[in-house]
Symmetry: C2
């Protein structure tokens, strides 16, 4: 009864977390555009000197308000929108965030402030389609000036009037070296399928800070390992022979290098379909709006346009385990020899990572049997944008038992065999941030374990090959270097272990050495558990490069399981992350979360995220700085705690990253594992278990709770197990 | 042509690695039993003082002989058997290993020697069914003496005349404290389903060294945290009230605690079948005997009766990557408060880990669609024993793309979408070593990546609860402690990267700091690759607790890929292993391999394995000691190298280990990943790729190489992808 009421309240509360609907987005836009003082114009209006909505998404209510609905069935708090407006059309341009409410019929707005009343520098705003249009226009001019050089260098490619021999570009961030700057290195690439790995060796830095694009300037050009102060200078020296000409090998249209088109062969057939998942008796999970149930699990989800997938109110058998688990940020910091390479420090929330969730292909991105859900984003747009089938939910078999035991009788028979297939519910989105594709996964196991995982695929960020570049990567094509970089991903894990009041401890082993109690001439050396409760935020902030404890354990000091142990969950890392820059070094200030594989803070509604969409273009003085959250070094004993988890890996590209980085071995994440949270493994509730015992007649007797025959798609034969191992 | 010849030679050579056939085993037995001087009797003969065959398995030819067949198509070397004989029936009993040949009609045998001509102590032999029979007889006597105590303690359980209230036992190893000893702690347990987690708090140490069981003695008894020198002493003190009586809670037959029987409920149905794998157009791999082909892969396999699964002659597109990848040893070292707990240091090759490969259940241990293979073992037997369906091979989808990219045009459309499903071929066996079940996996990805993985499930090794035990584990039941322990598994990885002559290097990053070339007032700090070639075995032996390099790289210094990089493979760890005892401390000498997550040695035929079946019962002075292999500190530049890999994890049991340890989060292993071995990702050969482009009419155009419709079991609809993301 308690569990069923808990289930009802979870179901009742899930819509609190649901992303804005199309209707809500349109209403918010109409409301704001109706405020004369704001002078809002369309985002796609070609001017940069304008006021317009940049982004709109759900604004979450304060946690205690939500909990009234989730834990007591009370009324849901008012829905609100967070709206980012860029005020370019005024003397001192600024970025202001508003909370607009109530939805779906808004009538008020208030400014959303940042910690320490920091303001958002206008130059730190994400780049928009309109700004790109002006950059393209600027590149038109630049490449016209360098037309002959580019044509000769590339063997016929140009930026305009190019038909099938076009150039395109990638722009680098951060955009400068200090706050307030907005000048970007841009690399030219052949515009062919997979252009990211076709740099042609021409890099140019454009200062595009001014809101009048006519005022934009070229500050530097890089060609053949030399720097020039202008395109004209380069062209002049190129013509006069003062700079050595680069000539790429002839472009070969039949070279499949950067494409997905199959080539080569293998000994076994792949022109037939490989193994597929089926659900012989239908799905075993429920999805209703953003509320999902599977095995003992229930949760709500949403996909922030800024940073992506979030899970809320995660419960098992009605008991809360986490209030929120969400992606905060993903970065890739590079090294290299060209200015574009050494400047690249991608901080992807600033590239609209959350709204870069494109359509998932059935049978590839998710199984054919998955449930596909559309997402709606409002970023750099004048209408809500539908991303069809951008999220999927499915159950899969891991093709591995969750548990199994063969209990031999050591006489050729057995006492029993028991086993249970390990299936998981997967919640997945992707973010394609230009070249790279992240695959964001949450796996819910039947036994109370959650696996949170990010896999990397897509194209590497590659630069033009120079011999000196080999200190920073690998040659992957005639004139292409794959640059070393580190991927780091930050997650917020607001565990609420059986309630909000939690504590945190780490565990290490220490050897003890004592006289053997049954043989006093000998000594026993063995490991002993050494638990250390961490009492303050600073104590619970573990740095990369330092020894990490064997176990990290979140528990409710007020709740015990049947055997008297504090109910708790562990976080288990699967990561090869490390720091990317010395602490406090320039851009490192923007990613202070990346100092810590794990940090534990006291929950604050004001500390909702560890990063922002503004960090990419101002990592030097970020408006949201994770370090602030632990600086006050609060007490974390018996409090509402949040775990902040950083995972990642070093990626030194190699030939096998062509055409794309492949997912095997390129997934990192963490497990949430119950540790004395339950009284026993809760997957014992599964009726998919099979037990076989030897009958009196020595024949196997199968005990099961699922239909004997799976069905014609899998097998018509009932399960059979013999179990004996006899001499022959 | 070269590739096809390579394929033919691989196929031709695979039988070299095939396990002994039943016919061969029988012939070897007959041959040896026919040698009068050996005086061999049946292994199952009840005497301990006898000469008999303990184990028989394939003896591998020297590597250079095998390579003549594999690389030049020459005649295969003679098949030989390795036979372990225990000579108990003589003045000084000994263990001798013989090489018997030629098979299948043997006519000669020679003694197989160990490094340094070390001899195998008779006391270090694995325990046999006959010895257990005598232990049971001894326990009969012991429990008769303590009949009343046991009955009162357990509430009605006894060792004999017990019908449904029986006791059973688990024995602990190592069996003593020094070489030459054979005295085992034995724990009594309720003989119910899952008896491993039913200790009743009675532990007894039996000295069973003498070959005349009548001479065996009880050396110690443990009851209620007290030690006694004999059962009689305990019983006397128990009766006289000098020892406090323990009374377990009444046994409840309805308590499902240790069983697999479902209990509890979940919100979603599990009484129907979950998702299943199907092969809509049949398998895409070939198995012929012990030779397997899948995608570009080919390999041979076998399952050693001693240590288990091995893969040989692993090639991709005909080019060798590894000569051998094989399990060497698995250990679990415990800590605790009872003598059984603090003594437990299981070293599983000594428990016939390889021959403990029991039947796999379809749909649980492997998918229904798997290919199941029988194994034959000859260990502690008089006839070859058939283990039906003990190995499985299957292809599965990981429900994850191997690669995918959505190439947006940033105008609501896209240049192209491409993707390829990630499927793997899985080769799997299990080892049930009494309570624990290991699942041994090799996963072969389409892109040249191999994942080697062990998952742990089955029952924990649990001991009787005492308050002091909480320093060493968790209470998991009224009177049961789950004891902390560390699992470590050792693998031999004889990489032969494009030939035998390989070198090894590690890679770390170092920050460089230099003047920004385009802004001289600023400095650039970035990471730079720092490769270190390891020139000797000691240099390439990485210790637990020390910093491990970011990359470890095996390469062929004589072979380059298309871009001029040395062809190589990385080993990437997925492990939480650590040392279990101080270096050189007693039993640690038996597992010197466990000092090193990675050690690289020069290949020696004489260093075939890193452990032996004798280590468990004499870990103090092991006959095979891995440390010997690196002690001569050989040159490892441009040589035949072997990587020795240790993976594992600390296991502090918790309530969720009841009834069994579950596999999620309890898998460790390593990846072998190509690093400039190929010229590009070899999975581009797969015709399962799908590419979608927007046609001139803006409609999606699908390019594919597999049938448009998968079939009625999965879906009747052809693949469809739209890809646009438009305003609504
Ligand atoms: Ca704080
Ligand atoms: Ca919390
Ligand atoms: Ca050596
Ligand atoms: Ca080798
Ligand atoms: Cu990468
Ligand atoms: Cu364990």
């Amino acid at each position: 009864c308690g569990a069923s009421r808990a289930r009802d309240w979870a179901h009742h509360g899930a819509p609190i977390f649901a992303d804005l609907t199309v209707r809500e987005m349109k209403a918010v836009r109409a409301y704001l555009h109706g405020i004369p003082e704001m002078l809002l114009t369309d985002a796609r209006n070609e001017a940069l000197k304008k006021n317009s909505i940049l982004l709109m998404e759900l604004h979450l209510p304060k946690k205690h308000e939500v909990l009234r609905a989730l834990d007591r069935g009370q009324a849901k708090p008012t829905r609100q929108a967070r709206v980012v407006i860029q005020f370019g059309n005024q003397a001192t341009p600024n970025i202001t965030e508003y909370i607009v409410s109530p939805l779906p019929s808004p009538n008020s707005h208030e400014v959303k402030t940042f910690k320490g009343n920091r303001t958002v520098r206008f130059e730190s705003r994400p780049i928009t389609a309109v700004e790109y249009k002006h950059i393209v226009a600027m590149l038109d001019k630049i490449t016209t000036t360098a037309y002959k050089l580019l044509l000769e260098t590339t063997g016929g490619f140009s930026f305009r009037n190019c038909s099938d021999r076009c150039l395109t570009f990638s722009d680098i961030a951060p955009r400068g070296l200090a706050p307030g700057e907005r000048r970007s290195w841009i690399m030219l690439q052949k515009f062919v399928e997979g252009y990211f790995i076709h740099p042609v060796g021409f890099e140019v830095m454009i200062n595009h800070r001014d809101l009048d694009p006519k005022m934009w300037t070229v500050e530097k050009v890089w060609y053949n390992s030399k720097y020039f102060d202008s395109v004209e200078e380069l062209v002049e020296k190129y013509e006069s022979g003062d700079v050595e000409k680069v000539k790429l090998p002839d472009h070969d249209d039949d070279d499949l290098y950067s494409t997905y088109i199959p080539r080569g062969h293998s000994n076994t057939p792949t022109n037939i379909h490989g193994p597929k998942l089926v659900e012989p008796q239908g799905p075993r999970y429920h999805v209703e709006g953003n509320f999902v149930e599977y095995a003992g699990w229930s949760f709500a989800y949403r996909v922030r346009s800024s940073a992506g997938l979030q899970v809320f109110d995660l419960r098992f058998n009605g008991e809360r385990i986490a209030y929120e688990i969400s992606i905060q940020e993903a970065i890739a910091f590079y090294a290299g020899d060209t200015p574009a390479a050494m400047q690249t420090k991608y901080i992807d929330a600033g590239w609209a990572m959350g709204s870069s969730s494109f359509e998932l292909a059935p049978g590839i991105d998710c199984p054919e049997i998955a449930t596909y859900v559309d997402l709606y984003h409002y970023f750099d747009t004048d209408k809500p944008v539908r991303h069809k089938n951008a999220l999927c939910i499915f159950e899969m078999t891991t093709a591995m038992p969750l548990r199994r035991h063969f209990n031999a009788d050591f006489k050729g028979g057995y006492n029993f065999y028991g086993g249970l297939d390990s299936t998981v519910l997967v919640l997945r989105t992707t973010s394609t941030v230009y070249n790279y594709d992240y695959i964001w996964d949450f796996h819910f196991y039947q036994n109370g374990v959650v696996e949170v995982k990010v896999s990397a695929t897509g194209y590497i960020h590659a630069t033009f090959f120079t011999p000196n570049g080999l200190h920073y990567g690998t040659k992957v094509y005639d004139y292409v270097l794959g640059n070393l970089h580190t991927h780091l991903v930050h997650y917020k894990v607001d565990l609420d272990i059986a309630g909000r009041d939690n504590s945190f401890e780490s565990m290490d082993l220490k050897f003890v050495n004592f006289t053997n109690p049954w043989s006093p001439d000998h000594r026993v050396v063995q490991s002993r558990l050494h638990w250390t409760e961490k009492k303050t935020e600073r104590d619970a902030a573990f740095r990369f490069g330092k020894k990490f404890p064997r176990y990290v354990h979140f528990f409710n000091p007020n709740e015990k399981n049947k055997w008297g142990h504090k109910k708790g969950y562990r976080i288990q890392f699967n990561s090869h992350g490390h720091s990317v820059l010395p602490r406090g070094w320039r851009e490192e200030n923007g990613i202070s979360w990346s100092r810590y594989p794990l940090a534990v803070t006291r929950h604050r509604d004001s500390e909702a995220t560890s990063s922002s969409i503004y960090t990419q273009n101002d990592p030097w003085e970020p408006v949201v700085s994770f370090e602030d959250y632990i600086r006050n070094n609060e007490d974390i004993v018996n409090k509402d705690l949040v775990a902040w988890v950083t995972v990642g890996f070093l990626h030194v590209p190699h030939s096998e990253d062509i055409p794309n980085t492949a997912t095997p071995g390129n997934a990192v994440g963490f497990f949430l594992r119950p540790f004395n949270f339950f009284d026993e493994d809760p997957s014992v509730a599964s009726k998919s278990t099979i037990i076989v015992r030897q009958g009196k007649d020595c024949k196997p007797k199968v005990q099961r709770w699922t239909p004997e025959v799976i069905g014609h798609c899998v097998t018509d034969k009932p399960f059979f197990y013999n179990g004996t191992y006899k001499g022959v």
